[in-house]
Amino acid sequence: MRTIRALVACGFAVLALAGCGSSESRTADSVTRAVYNNDIDSVTKSFTPGLAKQVTREQLGQLSDLMHSHGDYKGLTETGTEPDGAMDFRADFTSGSLIVKMKLDSDGKVSGYRVIPSPST
């Protein structure tokens, strides 16, 4: 009985840790997924007002096409943080990957989002 309780507790702990993925990663993933889906409302929802004003449907379509050229979107992996606070991610697709750099302001809004074709692709 004690063993079972311990296993249940461990299970809850694992679930809790899994749900504790960094908010930056979740934000980066949701924005990347929205860009992939060419969903301008979801993209700009996470952006600061100043950055949201810069987004055009044409630009979003170009970026979405770039992502689609690498296949289906699978997910993001955080690869590092730069001294200025920008975070680096690797966006994995079925046919390659892209580098995603994202910067958040003090309110947790995206103040910079850029996609770089991976040198290996």
Binding site: I40, Q54, T56, Q59, M102, K103
Partner: protein, 159 residues
């Protein structure tokens, strides 16, 4: 017509006979007969003149009638022509209306396309954006160091 000539000739002959020197009047039967014939001829001449005037009047009426008919025909033709021109003008106006509506739709579509090209939240000119920019990428080197590489990035904001 032939009868009229015969009568006319007879009348002329009768008038010439009247102008001819006559014998002193005598109450004989031949003179009486001649006078009766001349009176009849004069009456016939009056009747013929009257008929001629009546016919001339009828001819004038017919001529006037023909002229009026021609005028009516001309007016009807002119009306038909004007109506045809009006119909053509109406068709032209309809075509122009359709053309204007088409151009209006085109303008609206172009405005929508321009609005879609315009960044969200702006109603005026397009502010400068850096959708395509050079971004510095830090690459680890085989000897354990780092190498900064300028690469082309796509997105919004400066990082």
């Amino acid at each position: 017509m032939k009868l009229s000539r015969i009568i006319g000739v007879s009348l002329i002959a009768a008038m010439l006979a009247m102008l001819a020197p006559q014998a002193p009047a005598s109450a004989d039967g031949a003179a009486s007969t001649r006078n009766i014939i001349l009176g009849g001829a004069a009456a016939a001449l009056i009747i013929i003149n009257h008929n001629k005037q009546v016919h001339a009047h009828y001819a004038q009426d017919a001529s006037n009638e023909a002229a009026l008919a021609a005028q009516r025909n001309d007016a009807q033709a002119a009306y038909a022509s004007e109506k045809k021109a009006y119909d053509n003008e109406s068709a032209l106006v309809s075509d122009l209306k359709r053309e204007v509506a088409y151009q209006h739709d085109q303008v609206d579509q172009l405005r929508q396309q321009v609005a879609m090209m315009r960044p969200i939240g702006t109603s005026g000119g397009t502010p400068a954006t850096n959708f395509v920019a050079q971004t510095t990428l830090v690459h680890p080197t085989p000897v354990g160091g780092e190498q900064q590489v300028a690469v082309t990035s796509y997105g919004w904001g400066t990082i």
